[in-house]
Symmetry: C2
């Protein structure tokens, strides 16, 4: 593996590192005068666009169609599924007035869209030929968070909620779709070079209204866990609450089986956080707003020659679909410009000076390692393409290795506490399987149970439950989390 | 000009035509249980995506950067500019509670985003080097409409509001940007083959807070006018209300000069309405969700051969970037399939049967005229490309001619009333220029004054004002409007 630039502030004071980088570039302006909301700046919006494009791409190629539902949900709709409303009622923003007129029916700002979408599913689905129905939308959702908010991670307006909703004729088809949902999300995270652990959330922490929930967690630089996405098997609970029935091939009627899965700008927070270092952001090539930054090294008398070559290189790269920028700001030194593009995470920097013109070369600097290489000017496209691949695979390896070091097997409460107070991460411990014991464990170690590993059998003999000493039946994951 | 298919229901009962087509395809489902809101279906979303892509493209290539602002605006911000709040206060939706907790500060659902964006402009702009600032966003906005709502045209949730906001150092630069805004919108409408008239709105109908407003109006099949977009010169009113100052090159401080321009899903309503006919929707090739629909004509014994050729044609077209679909639904006749793709406005239909296989031909049918032609199978891509161009230019000519016939010069109130009660459209009449007279005229003829033509001088002697008989100074446009 390659040597990284320093990651001291990044790891030792991650929260400050994150707040500073999003403000300095800027990416995401938290000074907007409503708590827990923020503005995506031009640079931030480009990141958001690249990430949402990957979401769209993976969902569309697996047969999900994009739609757009209204924001407002009438109170009587939000209330239809009992578990669901119980969980959300304390954190719903309510619209109560139009102008000075009190509304007859209170309208909720969607906290998530099951109760907006499923009344329409009832209208859209009448026979088995209408199934499966697979849709998604990318919208804002709202939660009246009473805990401290945190940029992109714990917000009152989630600006970028990608929610997919599917309906199926049988339980088997629905659960096969759950597995596909897990695969889709795995591909999205992999394209962003983000490592993750998949856990089946404990019963007491599943999505309200779901039969079970599978979550994707990652580990941020401070060792705390961030949930990046979730896939829920809804069974027939919502179908019954919203009366979504269909005629089967045999003429009988039945309720549909449903799933939903969601992902938000937390994914962007993970992208920025996990790949970063003390110089700023580091992007995989596919999502970097600027992929190549060209910095002219000008000396008196050679300005025009150098600038001409730089423009030529920029135009050549752009014509091949590379997002290249020529930093021709006159008032800044090359050093200032290196600072800018390292901070903004351009995967490759190109430096061109008078000596390069003579030698027919360019200097290429890759962002992830800051290593320099000299390349022939006429092979620049090929060299840059190779560097993109090198940066991408290094980010993938580096972030996977970093996370793997932070998933630890433990066998005592002592060890759990020590690890949690140390490097953090995810701890895997033997557990009896009882809810009571699990909830007790959460309190004892002041941490959260993430659940049991998804699709991994427990290996060999597990021994005793870490908390109650009964025979362990599962390996459970414990972490401090956002 | 080509002969069109029948447009009888389309013109004689436009409202019903529109409601039926958006429900039957479906494009936009108005059965969502909140008045004045609706769902963009998968097919509708594809139209919306193609149209917003054109907006983005034209704004980006003229230096506007996309951003995303929060939905909620604190009441004290919404109230800062006096004219603005006076106009909007009766139609703002208010969020008053988070869970069961009353909020300290009431939050408005943005009715438009000046008062959300300009507090941030104050933070972003400090010196002339920060100018011009040109941004846009595509978001939902909300109006508590008390009049009857109408799908896509008069709604409570505008789902697709494209609003640009610019700030400049001088009045001259700001007004030059107004002209560029007008050009950008002209190009967007032209790419959609939509005809329009540009009017400077009368003072009593300009955007609240603006110095002046330029509007783009078109005429719908029933002769009523639809405002599709507006460009506003804001002067320094908002800059003063929001204290947006900057340091000039000479070290002095001054307020910025601002513009904003907006466009919404009314544009999509116009696109669907203006090009349609009694068979359904008709799209220009660039925005058609399906550009080519391939219908196999199968006879017993030849099914596999025909289907193979159809798949080959589809794959060939797709590989060249054409959105082609092979309609292989087994239970339907070719006639059923023609109906589907005519209704959905695919610009070209391809029919392939056993005789075509023998002759090496395909049958091509263009949607706008329903004319058939037989082409050689091996030149299909070239033929389809030609047909796209033919459809596009025919739609442009046809819609322009149609609108031109409905812009009429009139010289008496009698004539105004007669025309308004007849084919409708836009009437141009001599006017004295007084607000009092203009507002009186609106009442007398039960219509709206759209304003004076933008960037057109009054030609020759205008004679007397149509309403008060004083000397006319301007030609004014009058219409019944949505």
């Amino acid at each position: 593996m390659h040597k990284s630039p320093e990651r001291k502030v990044w790891s030792e004071n991650y929260s400050e590192w994150f707040r500073k980088i999003i403000a300095d570039i800027p990416v995401y302006d938290t000074r907007y005068p409503v708590k827990g909301t923020a503005v995506w700046t031009p640079f931030g919006f480009k990141i958001r666009k690249a990430v949402t494009q990957i979401m769209r791409d993976e969902l569309e190629k697996t047969g999900h169609e994009e739609v757009l539902f209204p924001l407002l949900i009438p109170d009587y709709m939000l209330n239809k599924e009992g578990e669901h409303i119980k969980s959300f009622e304390s954190e719903v923003f309510w619209v109560t007035h139009g102008g000075t007129t009190p509304l007859d029916v209170k309208l909720a700002l969607r906290p998530t869209s099951e109760t907006a979408i499923y009344p329409m599913f009832k209208l859209w689905i009448s026979a088995y030929t209408d199934l499966p129905l697979k849709i998604f939308q990318i919208v804002n959702v709202f939660r009246y968070e009473t805990k401290a908010t945190r940029p992109m991670i714990r917000v009152r307006e989630v600006s970028t909620f990608n929610e997919a909703h599917t309906a199926h004729a049988t339980r088997e088809e629905a659960e096969a779709q759950v597995a596909q949902g897990v695969e889709i999300y795995s591909r999205i995270f992999s394209r962003l070079k983000l490592p993750f652990a998949k856990s089946v959330r404990p019963d007491w922490d599943k999505f309200p209204g779901a039969v079970y929930s599978i979550a994707f967690d990652t580990i941020l630089p401070d060792g705390k866990v961030l949930q990046m996405g979730t896939v829920h098997f809804l069974g027939q609970g919502f179908a019954k609450a919203f009366d979504i029935k269909f005629m089967k091939a045999d003429g009988e009627y039945g309720y549909v089986w449903q799933n939903c899965y969601g992902i938000s700008e937390r994914l962007i927070a993970a992208l920025l956080s996990i790949h970063g270092d003390d110089h700023g952001l580091v992007f995989p090539s596919s999502v970097a707003p600027v992929q190549v930054a060209i910095v002219p090294i000008v000396y008196k008398g050679k300005e025009e020659e150098v600038m001409k070559k730089c423009r030529e290189v920029r135009d050549g790269l752009e014509s091949k679909g590379i997002r290249a920028i020529l930093d021709d700001r006159k008032e800044l030194t090359p050093g200032n410009k290196y600072f800018t593009w390292e901070q903004r995470g351009a995967p490759v920097r190109v430096e061109i000076g008078p000596r390069d013109l003579e030698a027919g070369t360019v200097v290429l600097v890759r962002r992830d390692t800051l290593e320099k290489l000299v390349a022939k000017a006429d092979t620049i496209y090929e060299e840059i393409t190779k560097l993109f691949a090198a940066v991408d695979s290094n980010l993938e390896e580096r972030s996977r290795a970093w996370m793997a070091e932070r998933i630890t097997q433990v066998n005592s409460l002592e060890e759990v506490r020590k690890k949690l107070d140390g490097q953090g991460g995810i701890l895997e411990a033997p557990w009896c399987g009882s809810r009571e014991c699990g909830e007790g464990l959460e309190v004892k170690v002041d941490a959260r149970i993430l659940g049991i590993p998804y699709n991994e059998g427990a290996e060999g003999e597990l021994g005793k439950c870490i908390n109650c000493d009964k025979k362990a039946e599962k390996r459970i994951r414990i972490a401090r989390s956002y």
